[in-house]
């Protein structure tokens, strides 16, 4: 079943912060986050595994609440280059493992950063 992302769209000024949420009704093994710019392929940002860890690099970080089956992506002090559509992709618990099931993606959050 498809994870639910919110909000659907966000418009920010450069330097502002954003939070994108992803929730699933199924027990999850992992949550992936990707960014896709117009006309380009999705680009991997980070993966969070079952265990409720938080990850981050530069000004982009994410958390995974295993009990709630929710993940959040945090973008701080946003830059123009952060603009794009952000997708969460989920891998269910109890699946084939090793990525064999593939990811089920949310509908995406469209992020626009204005100067």
């Amino acid at each position: 079943q498809q994870p639910v992302q919110s909000p659907q769209a966000v418009i920010l000024r450069e330097g502002e912060d954003a939070v994108i949420n992803c929730s699933s009704s199924k027990a999850l093994y992992s949550v992936h986050w990707y960014r896709q710019k117009h006309g380009e392929a999705p680009v991997f940002l980070m993966i969070l595994l079952k265990g409720g860890e938080q990850k981050g690099h530069e000004k982009i970080s994410a958390s995974f609440n295993e009990k709630k089956q929710q993940s959040s992506l945090y973008l701080t002090a946003s830059q123009l280059s952060y603009s794009g559509t952000y997708f969460c992709g989920t891998e269910r618990e109890g699946g084939l493992g090793g990525g064999a099931d593939g990811l089920t993606f949310g509908k995406g959050t469209h992020l626009i950063i204005q100067p």
Partner: protein, 110 residues
């Protein structure tokens, strides 16, 4: 070197035709995928291949068939193309981690 490469980048064809999209990865990944992205940007998995074995096949019409001559290649053959097949098709690969996507093939059926 491009990690995951797809050809062609654009494909315009008439209804009823048969076409193929090629995908190659040089990352040494064990698993490859085909995803379809529709006009609303929804990414839906079509196939997953692990070590040349089809692992999962979502509710995809049997007009679509993946073919993997070796671990580094996963091609997509589409028979009797329909208008609703118009979309961007992405190939991807992974090895117990994040996916690396190809640049996509924009298929337009007229």
């Amino acid at each position: 070197d491009t990690a995951v490469s797809q050809t062609p980048k654009y494909l315009v064809t008439q209804m009823g035709n048969d076409k193929s999209i090629k995908c190659e990865q040089n990352l040494g990944h064990d698993t490859m995928y085909w995803y379809k992205q529709d006009s609303k940007k929804f990414l839906k998995i079509m196939f997953s291949y692990n070590n040349k074995e089809l692992i999962i096949n979502e509710t995809v019409p049997n007009r679509f068939s993946p073919k993997s001559p070796d671990k580094a290649h996963l091609n997509l053959h589409i028979n009797s193309l329909e208008l609703g097949d118009s979309a961007v098709y992405f190939c991807a690969s992974s090895q117990y981690g994040g996916y690396t996507f190809g640049s996509g093939t924009r298929l337009t059926v007229v």
